[in-house]
């Protein structure tokens, strides 16, 4: 039986572990040179920080994950630096590209997609300036490269990553000039009871917020970012506080992020249907609680199958592998399956509270000024999208045909969420009704002479 696991983050590592335990030798494909995922990303060779310095409270989990990752590589057909850029579900074949060049077709009987997530953004005037990054990007810079995106950055958005990244920058010696959370304090406080479903993580979050205040990092909650100022690069943020007073705060970099969105393009190409998850404010590929897609032989786990965080990714990765093994009538651990199901149910309650505590500010996206570029690849503005709506584009793919939104080099990864808000608002319908940009191969750009082969 040919089993392929795509992705070597927390979900992929735990999926492969269960497959190998059952005697299966999967093909294991990872786009990066090494596995580990984003939260527990390892720096390249030559960096010397300890796991404790790199991952803080996640150090133990990171060490265990990396130990399993390294132990599993020789027991699989391990293919790092390899991008899956297309899937032909009717033939059960993946198209891959290794080291930016070598093409291959990889057949599969069963497939586990562990494709992760990226930051969800809200475009602002000036967000294409040098010095503006995602929150995840700001964190990767520090973790995997030991550099700050600036010496006095401003961090903007909402969610746990906002606060965690701010503290990491403060500790590294680049104290943020401002942490701007669009969510009011009370919205977060109301969810405290629900977040006790994962008490250690919740208390750690409270500790991070307290530590930032102790370090004297300026914090604004219930605030609105208005524009990023700069010529060659970001030099200030214009923003409005909860009392509607406007401020200009100087900085040398800005990081933006409002939670995460699944990187689910491959599930789309595999033929998996998607549902709108109103709580997460994301489109998520359809799957059962164990990770089975309604497409035979396709399984999904981790943030790519719906945002759950790194702990859930480990649980759901193992669970999806156990589902695959059970479906294939191979030995699978019934006690572990029951344990994982219980843990996943509890974590879902925590995640529901977390999503309510840090909501995507959809109204800000809907109210975006006409001149703001929604698509940074091809500088397509909110006004152009509204013109598409006026020209009778009732849903996203029609708006794409009219305006080129989502046709740029990132394939709608960044603009998809905010563009749907702008379009829905212009049409006076819900964001679920305008749909989502359909995935298209190649899921990331590849050299033009290759796909013809």
């Amino acid at each position: 039986m040919k089993v392929v696991v795509v992705g070597a983050g927390p979900a992929g590592i735990r999926a492969v572990e269960q497959l190998v335990r059952a005697g299966v030798t999967p093909t294991w494909i990872e786009e990066s040179p090494d596995g580990g995922g984003r939260i527990t990303q390892r720096p390249p060779a030559g960096f010397t920080r300890s796991a404790a310095a790199l991952y803080g409270a996640d150090a133990g989990r990171a060490r265990r994950l990396h130990a399993t990752l390294d132990a599993m590589k020789p027991r699989t057909d391990w293919r790092p630096d390899t991008l899956v850029w297309n899937i032909r579900p009717q033939d059960r074949v993946l198209h891959t590209q290794t080291d930016g060049a070598a093409q291959a077709e990889v057949p599969y009987d069963a497939l586990i997609l562990c494709t992760g997530a990226m930051d969800r953004v809200l475009p602002l005037p000036g967000w294409t300036l040098p010095g503006v990054t995602t929150l995840g990007g700001a964190q990767v810079a520090l973790k995997a490269q030991g550099v700050g995106i600036g010496a006095k950055p401003i961090l903007v958005g909402t969610g746990p990553l906002l606060w965690l990244t701010a503290l990491q920058y403060a500790k590294a010696g680049a104290k943020p000039a401002l942490v701007l959370d669009t969510t009011p304090f009370l919205t977060k406080a109301w969810q405290a009871a629900g977040m006790m479903w994962n008490a250690p993580t919740f208390l750690r979050g409270i500790g991070i917020m307290a530590a930032l205040r102790l370090r004297g990092v300026p914090i604004a909650e219930d605030a609105t970012p208005l524009a990023i100022e700069g010529v060659e690069g970001a030099t200030a943020l214009h923003w409005r506080d909860a009392a509607w007073k406007e401020h200009v705060t100087p900085c040398d970099a800005v990081a933006l992020g409002w939670g995460l969105k699944p990187e689910s393009q491959l599930a789309d190409l595999a033929g998996v249907p998607f549902d709108y998850d109103a709580l997460q404010h994301n489109w998520v590929p359809r799957r059962d609680a164990a990770g089975r897609a309604p497409v035979a032989g396709v399984y999904m786990a981790g943030d790519g199958a719906g945002i759950g965080g790194a702990e859930v990714a480990e649980l759901s990765g193992a669970r999806a592998a156990l589902a695959l093994l059970a479906d294939a009538k191979l030995p699978s651990d019934a006690a572990l399956t029951a344990h994982l199901d219980g843990r996943l149910r509890t974590e879902a309650r925590f995640r529901a509270a977390l999503e309510r505590a840090f909501p995507y500010p959809a109204k800000l996206a809907a109210r975006m000024e006409d001149s703001t570029p929604v698509c940074r690849c091809e500088v397509i503005t909110a006004g152009e999208l509204r013109a598409a709506a006026a020209a009778d584009a009732p849903e996203m793919n029609r708006a794409k045909a009219f305006s080129r939104i989502g046709m740029g080099r990132c394939q709608g990864r960044l603009c998809g969420t905010p563009a749907a808000e702008v379009l829905a608002s212009a049409l006076g319908v819900t964001v679920a009704e305008v749909g989502r940009l359909r995935g298209q191969p190649p899921v990331k750009p590849i050299p033009l002479q290759q796909p013809a082969a």
Binding site: G100, M118, G146, E232, G233, R409, C410, P447
Partner: protein
């Protein structure tokens, strides 16, 4: 913009070139890190007339840090490690 070296920077130095000019870097730097910490400010120029770009996601998703590398074609600066003598051309 200038990225700032903060932690874990005790690595051997090397030299590569950007648009024909020698630029110092350290082993383990990505091209994005090396170019932005060296003060180059941007890694490419937008084809749509809105100025320089210096990447955005730092994790290979947004495709906003494309550079030309001699002998390798177009590469993402954020996922390509710098090598001694590597020749980068900003587009």
């Amino acid at each position: 913009m200038t990225a700032t070296r903060l932690l874990d920077q005790d690595r051997p130095g090397l030299i590569f070139t950007v648009d024909g000019v020698e630029v110092p870097a350290r082993q383990g730097d990505t091209l994005l890190t090396a170019m932005l910490t060296a003060g180059l400010g941007h890694v490419r120029t937008s084809e749509f007339g809105d100025g320089g770009r210096a990447g955005f996601c730092w994790m290979g998703a947004c495709q906003d840090c494309w550079v030309q590398v001699a002998g390798q074609g177009i590469r993402r600066a954020c996922t390509t490690l710098v090598q001694p003598g590597l020749e980068v051309i900003r587009r």
